[in-house]
Amino acid sequence: MVVHFVIAMVLFSFICDVLGYFTHNIRLFEVAFWNMFVAAIAIFVAIIFGQFEAGLAQVYPAVESTLNFHTVMGWSLGAIVAIITAWRFAIRDRNPLKVPPAYLGAATFLICLVFLQVYLGSKLFWVYGLHVEPVVEAMKHGVSP
């Protein structure tokens, strides 16, 4: 549930900054800042729930590498989003009417990492079926996909 806010807010913050940069609509910079701010809070809640649910998951050998990758990426993204938000805050503090291209570059990199993380998380549920009832049931009866 909480990941909705991380994914949506990071993406939308980036879109608003890029649109604001090219259209000179300075309102969008304020929208970008607050969206990133929400993402920074949400990501730590998301990591905690993620850890909790990963702990409860019936993990079979084929899933392990994806789950580990998703976990490492999650914690790394927590740190990166915190740093980016701090940077965005400093930019807004200094001059709320401008966003430097260097920040947009870093945010582009962040977006790529978020997409990768979404892919990994989706794979755990939609391909490997973690927490999916028919799969959990089958594993109880000793069948592994």
């Binding site: 909705h4 949506a8 608003c16 929208v31 969206n35 939609w126 028919p134 996909p145």
Partner: protein, 195 residues
Amino acid sequence: MNSPLIDSLGLRLGANGLPYEIPIHPNLVHLTLGLFIIAIFFDIAGSIFPIERPIFKFLGLPAIRAGFFDVGWYNLLGASIITFFTVGFGFFELLLANPPINQKSDWGLTASWTMLLHGLGGVVLLGMIVAMTVWRGLQRYHWRKNDSRQVQWGYLLVGLAMLGILYVHGTLGGQLGSEFGVHVTAAKLLQAGAK
């Protein structure tokens, strides 16, 4: 849809019943929900701004009331645009769904009822989100253009009610994946193996 009908589409479907590895609709849902919910919360934050102003001061976080309403408006506009894609992909993936027919969800519904309600709900919600955006736009650019509080209390109430509807609707959709295993590769492989 039944499987001969799906087969006659001539799509190259994977084990999950889709022409691609991971369903697209559930990922777009993040954007619809995130943008809509935050839009409502920021409009609420803008509306009760005089009460919370000391908190932002205490945190050393400069906040402008108009900025909160900007977040409310642009996030809602974003939600409106992206939701056309969310519902579009939702219908495509719903048509390709082939869930087990002898099962009931936690809410006592069959897969067919869950799919029907989630599909109809999607169209209704798209209409409601767009209508809210029009309503919000009228308040922002006409009716309350010069007011310090840009949104009506009635709008916020409807917004909160929408969160409840979205919760029910989202849970129905979640059940399609997590209980019926629709488009879940592992569940489909198990199903095929059991046959």
